[in-house]
């Protein structure tokens, strides 16, 4: 029933997993992304957070922060949800589901950041929240434009040589993913030094990177 027309971008289709209308496909490329997301989701599930060590300036002293595990429970829950959304996004077989799961990645990323009890970190979560919410517009806009011009959201159809997806739709799609995946830049900010929970914080980076790698494949193949 399903047969991917492009063989050169992500490799040939290996198998398809159907959940009613939601159809996912595994090629060497998407399967690799899926495996990587799965490994880090498992790591998040089994990991306990680290205890952050801070240097006391002006001397040789250092101290380890004690963070009660229950404080990080919500962060862990959000990280697992983020992992599951990433798993779905990297193997999604249609553009709407891809946009949907990518926006879920954005939402859960905000949750991971917002779970930390620190005013500075919460401010960062608020800023990223705004960016992620705004980014849903080009993300779903790309799906809408594609549907309006080609009559389909299925990647099996959109990858065919005879179907031309407008450049603006591809550009919106990439722009939307960049907005949803904005959160890794959070870790480059000073707030990271205040945020514990390395395995959960890392999931922000993992999810954004994998979704970005997937959108590169989709944009090139369409």
């Amino acid at each position: 029933m399903f047969s991917l027309p492009t063989g050169q971008i992500g490799g040939r289709e290996l198998f398809v997993v159907e959940f009613g209308d939601v159809v996912n496909y595994f090629s060497p490329y998407t399967a690799s992304l899926f495996a990587f997301a799965l490994i880090f989701t498992v790591i998040v599930i089994i990991s306990r957070p680290e205890r952050m060590v801070e240097i006391a300036f002006g001397g040789d002293a250092y101290l380890a922060k004690e963070i009660p595990t229950k404080d990080l429970a919500f962060q862990r829950f959000m990280a697992i949800a983020c992992g599951l959304a990433t798993l779905a996004a990297v193997v999604s077989g249609d553009l709407f589901n891809f946009a949907l799961f990518t926006s879920m990645v954005g939402i859960t990323n905000i949750g991971i950041v917002a779970a930390v009890r620190s005013r500075h970190v919460l401010n960062a979560a608020y800023q990223y929240g705004i960016v992620a919410m705004v980014a849903t517009l080009p993300l779903f806009g790309a799906a809408a434009i594609t549907l309006a011009t080609t009559g389909s959201l299925s990647l099996w159809e959109l990858y065919r040589a005879g179907i031309t997806v407008p450049f603006v739709a591809k550009a919106f799609l990439v722009l939307g993913v960049m907005g949803e995946g904005m959160a890794p830049f959070y870790v480059a900010k000073a707030e990271i030094t205040r945020a514990p929970g390395a395995p959960y914080i890392l999931m922000i980076h993992v999810s954004s990177l994998l979704v970005f790698l997937r959108v590169v494949e989709i944009a090139l193949s369409m």
Binding site: Y29, S32, R48, V187, L202, H205, L213, L220
Partner: protein, 281 residues
Amino acid sequence: MIEYLIAATFIGMLFHGIHRKVIARIQQRPGPPIWQEILHALKFSFKETWIPETASQALFVGVILVAIGIWSAALFVLLSGGSLLLLFGIYMLHKIVEHGTGLSSGSPYGKFGAIRSVITAAAEIPLFATIAAVYLFTGSLAISDIAAYQQVHGPLLFIVPPAALAMYLVILTKVYYSPFAVIESKEIVSGYKTEHFGVWRAALEVGFSLKTFVLLYAFVIVFIGLLPIWWTLLLMLAILVSISFVCALTPMLSPYDSVTVQSIATGLIVAALAVQWVVMA
């Protein structure tokens, strides 16, 4: 496959040793013997090892296995003539390894290394230019197709030199003692690797030597073509020695200078590629 993995690991470690030796000789120091990195890995393997009390244990160990896993997969992709896009993806995933290694211990030095790894994401941009240029000129991202294209049209090194320069910049960024190696510079001890010692460090060295081998091998296949193995190894060594010269003669940049230089270099490379594409079209 296992014999290729073992050979690639040892050759990668030997390349690291040669890299250190060349840098030392340029700087008029005797330097270590070229097999020093192999000895290091063996020595670390038998050292007393534990997991720091403050570390997130599963992540601390898991990320090392991920490092070896992704670069083993990358070697498999190369040997099987798979997708260049997949290789690019694996290279990007290495960022997660650096980040996870640094964050997992709870150490401030590791954390600074991890943060620097994120802010130097500009190092990945040249690879975009490489992928885009190769796709535009060859019409495929399958490594086997790219090799076949070069058998007909000659090495891509001479067809799209800016793309080759972009990939060279990528390799330069990832080698030890690189001017862009801010994530492991000495003012933050060993950066993201600071708390990984003993067997953990030995395993990381295995992953990183595979990385060095894969990146050099990929450069030869993608920009010069499929050659007999001894020619391939010789060319990989020549590229490495040229990188050693750059590392020996260039000071390590500060994090912001590193990002600036990489961004400007990438911008120039992309502009050169665009001009070449327009002229040839």
